[in-house]
Amino acid sequence: MTRKISLGPLNRVEGDLDIQLSLDENEHFIKEAQVKSTLYRGFENLLTGKAVMDALAITPRVCGICSISQSVAAAKAIADFAKTPMAENGQKVTNILLASEMVADILTHFYLFFMPDFTQPAYSKKAWSDEVNSSFTAVSGKQHGLMLKARAEFLHIMGILAGKWPHSMVFQPGGVSKTVSLSEQIKLLGIMANFKSYLEQVVFGDKLENIANLQNQTELENWQHRHSFSHSDFSMFLGISNDLSLSEFGASSGQLLAFPAFEQDNNNYYRGGVFLDNQIQALATSNIVEHHDFAKLYGDKFSPVSGLTQPDINKKDAYTWCKAPRYDNKVMETGSLARQFINGESLALSLVNSTGTNIHNRMILRLVELAKLTLQIENWIKDIEPKNTFCHQIKMPKEGQGIGLSEAARGSLGHWLTVENGKISNYQLVAPTSWNFSPRDNQGIPGALEQSLAKLPYQSEQDKQMLQHIIRSFDPCMLCTVH
């Protein structure tokens, strides 16, 4: 008899998540895990029969956390369908807003979701316990107030450029509906200056350039040796991570996926691709197939080009509303780690080549990306040319298809659009956490998180706490997952 344990409802994640563990006979370790997404809304079906441009009002509301990522993917899908290029200023404003959403998300994840786990009773005997409790206890930790203030002031960027956040309709296939004046450009730089000084003083305790320029694991270790545990929140995380050996937990298949993101001229800041068979390869979206075998949905498997989302609540063996996307039949991990690794960024290559995918590497690379994107946002603001156009007009064909690819904070997001008689006839979206928290596929192969949890010890309080770190290290967004 194997005992089954439910970890739900898991708090400090975005949306509804349950995880069922099957333990071995002696209850020493986890035999297998099933990741369950428990809310079905059927957002794709809301779009059927609607005007094409309505996707810009409906899809951001898939998710209040990744709202801009959804808008950007929708605008790109329509642009691809209408064969429209985006105005250069439009690209820059879009990039600033998408990167700002990611940056805000990384902060929220680190402070509100991830770090409070180190204040749990399992760690009360640790030398660092008192200091970490005072900094990161949920709701009352002293670092949370500082973060919320800095985050809200930083998100004034949204007020200026997007009108509001979440759920802005500023994003257009031809650019953005907001023009930016010279004075607004200067105001935006002022917001960035304040935000950078918060990151440098509180989060990192170092210049952002120094964090962004860490080239490899040795340089990261040297940085840690030069700074005390209490020096900054970054150094505290490094200290805790060493003490708990977080780099030894949370390995996934090690196969990585990233979509191109942040268009600039004819290039992308993130080039996108896959890491399969030990090499970085070009992305071919035709390799993406969603398996329905363990999802409470009709059908067996579909390409998102012609995907189907139809609930089948009593389906045998199905345990989640999440489909199982696979790339060339492989389980992929997506996220900050994946996009930096595939982009060939040296710290990501060094960390992943030396210890693989794990809690430590996911968290470090997310924080380093916070520094890099913050610097990049400043560049994009400076590159705006207020006198040039922000939005090209588009001419909409009556029929056709479009694909919109982008990245959200937690990984690759794609929208697949089909138009007939001037209306949307099918709309499918594949979200980052659909990859990371997918159920088994038609070969019975578990998804990325399910693989990370299998075979782990499950005895001490610290063992149990480690599961929580692994789960949150993916920065899951369950609202996007099922949609």
């Binding site: 739900g8 409802p9 708090n11 400090r12 079905y40 779009l47 209040g64 956390i65 979701f113």
Partner: protein, 340 residues
């Protein structure tokens, strides 16, 4: 000294997007945690924010059910999902074998105040669009129809109907000021409008203080996204009908939908998700927008519009159709080029 009363707040999420919680985190002066602390709000549970390990959740629920813990404020974010076939099976509570709609109903029978956070929770919201395929309901409405999950006669223990903090998302101050007013014992039924929204933000129109108001006065309209003109005639803007103080209060310190060049879609209204036309296009009959300001006789509106269109200064007409200001007021003054 009498200690101020501590209020227990519990926050559930269901058929929504989590965007109202994200919006709440945008609160400034003070931030959300300080606002709770200042008003002596004790957060019993919020899935995204609270410290409690998950096995505490069942205990908290039991304590409320058995009256061991008083639930002062119940906040629900997201519509009640009642499908398929009224079972609520589209949203089961993680780790508990009951539908979320049942848990919401049980807790609403215990709470002193019940708050519907966001338009989904109030009226159904975006998930209700396109034939309501998952049978979502607002707590006390489905679109304009009273009833909803809890029924039209529902009142919480304070004898109040559901308080609908509508908006997609709700502004952080709409949420916090309602909670803070409750904590001050200054919030009763007189504070609610006809669809149970707090009047303090719905006694204004989103149109009030819109920076495009001069263009509106002359019906000098933008034709495509990015142009400076008014968004009402062509691009779907409903700010003249939308009950909300967006352009007065502003979002994220600076913004509003029209300020960023796109239409107000009246997201605080019941049924906003099904406008009956494309969101960014103004439906017209014989060239005249159908959705005119709610309380103005149509004939008057048309007469005034044709008059003001005829009187539109060249400056306003030109600028309305361009991304940057082509003729500034000082240039217009010096040229004296107002249309005769």
């Amino acid at each position: 000294m009498i200690m101020p009363k501590q209020l227990n707040l519990l926050w559930l999420q269901s058929g929504g997007c989590g965007g109202c919680t994200m919006s709440l985190l945008n609160a400034e002066q003070p931030n959300v945690f300080d606002a709770f602390k200042n008003s002596h709000i004790n957060l019993l549970w919020h899935a995204s924010l609270s410290a409690n390990p998950s096995n505490d959740f069942a205990q908290i629920i039991d304590d409320i059910r058995s009256n061991k813990v008083q639930l002062d404020i119940l906040c629900v974010e997201g519509a009640a999902v009642t499908g398929p076939d009224g079972t609520g099976g589209f949203h089961m509570v993680s780790g508990m074998d009951i539908p979320m709609m049942t848990l919401i109903d049980q807790l609403a029978q215990k709470s002193l105040y019940t708050l519907a956070i966001g338009s989904c929770t109030a009226y159904g919201g975006m998930t209700r669009s396109n034939k309501n395929q998952t049978d979502v309901k607002g707590l006390q409405y489905v679109a304009e129809q009273k009833g909803g999950l809890l029924g039209s006669d529902y009142v919480s223990k304070s004898n109040m109907p559901v308080i609908n903090i509508a908006g997609c998302p709700a502004h952080p101050e709409w949420i916090l000021h309602t909670i803070q007013a409750i904590a001050l014992e200054r919030f009763d039924e007189n504070e609610l409008d006809t669809v149970q929204r707090p009047k303090f933000y719905t006694e204004h129109l989103a149109h009030h203080a819109c920076p495009k108001n001069e263009y509106y006065e002359y019906k000098a309209s933008a034709a495509t996204p990015g142009q400076a003109g008014c968004l009402m005639e062509n691009l779907g803007c409903k700010a003249t009908q939308a009950a909300a103080d967006c352009n007065i209060r502003l979002w994220n310190g600076h913004g509003s939908c029209p300020k960023a060049g796109y239409a107000c879609i009246n997201c605080t209204a019941p049924g906003f998700e099904e406008p009956g036309h494309a969101f960014s296009e103004t439906p017209k009959l014989a060239g005249i927008p159908i959705g005119l300001p709610t309380d103005m006789p149509k004939a008057w509106f048309i007469a005034l519009s044709s008059l003001s269109k005829a009187a539109t200064p060249e400056r306003i007409k030109t600028n309305a159709r361009s991304e940057t200001i082509k003729i500034s007021p000082d240039m217009a003054k010096n040229k004296g080029n107002a249309k005769k």
